[in-house]
Symmetry: C2
Subunit: 433 residues, 2 copies
């Protein structure tokens, strides 16, 4: 037990220095959503892989339709259909046209595509608005077509490689895979991809006073809320989070529970039991871990110069040296601690470069000055108004005020050396989004 | 088949008029994350439910510690421990103190809590920095304690109901449940909650040219990418999305596949087969649906005054009138169509009030003017720079350019009546986030 007081930044720095990105694994594309790519993706085949039509129409030789007009159409013999996915055995000779669909390969001999709307569609009548379905009108793939307008060479043709060429770098290592990146990976033929997986985070709350919501409360008991809020927050941060029910204030039970959970944990988050009380079980249970010869790391308990959230524990546990963050038990303290320390740790495990919430500066909108203890960084719950550029405190400073927390979308940061923040002053604001 | 041209806004309006929020269901708290609450949550019991200590320390009568100092401490008899979760049989009489932990109920007779740091912690020595664990030092719950400072009545006591009172409105119907709201629901004892569920969205792509990524490509074939990109996008929008593999251009197969999927679909999204070609299977298969007497709705195929994404289908299908959006098959067209029409529809199914992506105005940063067809709303891929307030076009206008799409984080909107947008001009930008 040290009586040193650590700053918020020192504690965060120690956590981020210790938490290493997870080892990459090969995942199916849709399982890799939101993950960080750890390989450069080079294009194996050009996109598109072949010249193809960008319209439904007729593949023609340009000289055959030179000077064509609605009054004096070029009349061509339709030699067949080229549907998308067609292997392509058709050839377009002089005076011929192939009916062609969007995405279908331009057949040999053809130089351009005339959209169906520039033809009679084989009807012998006026300009077509559409083709008739091949299944109901197979005769559309034969007979004659009247073309009403000339086209230039390559008109309505997407050239092979016009999107990407073989050998191009499609995606760089370090890219976060959102929907368009997943689409691109599929388009270049990748079924799986090497990424850092989502971390599996085990969340457990401690306290003999905690009762599962929905169960009856006895005297001196409250409902467990931290394990719910933090599991949801871990998922929102990108983790696969497992909520373990509240554990009673007994060191052996807690140790056994944590040891059981290690098998599925890339990180463990506890709440409660980290302060100076006689039943602070997390401190008691984990202070002895790491002292034997078979367990890893050890957990360090500190006092931080912050409010709320002064008592914090961080270290690693078990043979794999699984990171463990021990947060205080007050609901607001634990939530603020999550935002400041656990969320960045989760994002560091994912290999993300940007582990922090966005920060902005906003004008404090309040009836009276905010007071803050000297030497402590205070985090107040606030409601941010982007349009007005203001932030308004929500609720009080109490670390048990969960109702106010649920109305906040930002944290107002009052620095260590500021003891009073006047209405109208500029404040740093962390957006919880 | 109508030759009317519809505007983007008309089409979106028709979709949002037809898509109704899903019926609410009762879900476990952690399954309700991101969902919209459809009941007012009234507090059943006050929070905290009882006066409790905000510190680890000693519960005392204020008159017993009046005038206490380190030099002249008040010496009190420790009558026992009050741990968190304690049922509370202890009573603090004159000259007595109970050792009390954070969150534990203030025992009868006590009026305030003295933090352990303001006492000798029962050691008989100087000021304590911590309590010793009760398990290792049970004697701490008895003997004497020296108190070094006086306290006012109610000091370090959180009053019953100081967070919320019984009868208070904790959360209003319509609230989106993020982590703090889930924490609050747990804190007030709710195990389950009535919300609109996440919509189940079935995504399928159509096209005989489509090959599953990872499989070999034959002549005229490309990899299916739309079903991957749109499934990922639907998940990102909040849906539970199921990717059905690419379906070949055969109306019976497509109809059978869609009918099979209806059982698990709150919405169906298809790509491809909606244009004017002879093998546009979605149009062919779904135009006949709704004509019989046992199926619902029907799907309307339209041309929109937009680029990319001109051909679009929308309607409903099956006995439950499940909404179906039929998007064009070009990867960029389908992705832009998703953003404009499917994402708002998913969010409308969820009952969210704000169904749209954020829009900003930004200065066009480009080497040359952007040209846009008259009468069409054009959506160009762009990279948005928030700090500079600029947007830069990425890639070209081709609807097959998936590589550029993967580098974009915004859509640049060029209105119907604008045919040229000069560098430095102000443009509307949709942030894809």
């Amino acid at each position: 037990m040290s009586s040193t007081i650590w700053s918020v930044d020192e504690h965060l720095e120690d956590i981020l220095a210790a938490v290493k990105p997870l080892e990459p694994i090969e995942l199916q594309l849709l399982d890799a959503q939101g993950c960080v790519l750890v390989e450069d993706i080079t294009v194996q085949i050009a996109l598109p892989p072949f010249d193809n039509s960008s319209m439904d129409g007729y593949a023609v030789r340009t000289s055959d339709v030179a000077g064509a007009s609605e009054e004096f159409p070029a009349v061509l013999t339709v030699v067949g259909d080229v549907a998308a996915g067609s292997g392509g055995t058709l050839r377009v000779g002089p005076g011929e046209a192939a009916r062609i669909m969007t995405g279908a390969p331009l057949p040999p001999g053809a130089e351009a595509v005339v959209p169906v709307e520039w033809t009679d569609g084989g009807s012998g009548g006026g300009p077509a608005v559409t083709m008739r379905a091949a299944s109901g009108a197979p005769e559309g793939a034969s007979g004659e077509v009247r073309v009403h307008r000339p086209v230039e060479a390559r008109a309505h043709v997407r050239a092979r490689g016009s999107d990407v060429q073989a050998g191009d770098l499609a995606l760089e290592s370090g890219t976060v895979l959102g929907p368009p990146q997943i689409g691109l990976l599929a388009a270049v033929g990748r079924a799986t991809v090497k990424v850092r997986p989502r971390p599996r985070v085990v969340v457990l709350s401690t306290g003999s006073e905690l009762v599962q919501p929905g169960e009856p409360l006895s005297a001196g008991q409250i409902f467990d809320s931290n394990s719910f809020a933090l599991t949801a927050a871990a998922r929102h941060a990108g983790a696969i989070a497992y909520r373990v029910g509240a554990v009673t204030d007994d060191a052996d039970t807690l140790r056994a529970t944590i040891e059981d959970q290690l098998i599925r944990a890339d990180m463990i988050v506890t709440t409660g039991g980290v302060s100076v009380g006689a039943y602070d079980v997390v401190k008691e249970a984990l202070s002895s871990v790491g002292e034997g010869d078979d367990t890893g790391g050890g957990v360090d308990f500190r006092k931080l110069a912050m409010q709320p959230g002064k008592p914090q524990g961080f270290g690693s546990i078990g043979p794999e040296h699984t990171p463990l963050l021990a947060l205080p038990g007050n609901p607001v303290s634990s939530y603020v601690s999550f935002e400041l320390f656990v969320r960045p740790a989760i994002r560091a495990l994912m290999g993300l470069k940007d582990v922090h919430r966005p920060k902005v500066r906003a004008t404090l909108s309040a009836d009276k000055p905010l007071s803050s203890p000297s030497g402590k960084r205070q985090f107040l719950r606030g409601a941010y108004d982007e349009a007005a550029g203001t932030v308004t405190p929500v609720g009080g400073t109490g670390s048990h005020l969960v109702a106010a927390l649920a109305r906040a979308d930002a944290l107002i940061v009052v620095p260590e050396d500021t003891t009073e923040l006047e209405p109208g002053a500029e404040a740093e604001v962390v957006l919880l989004g």
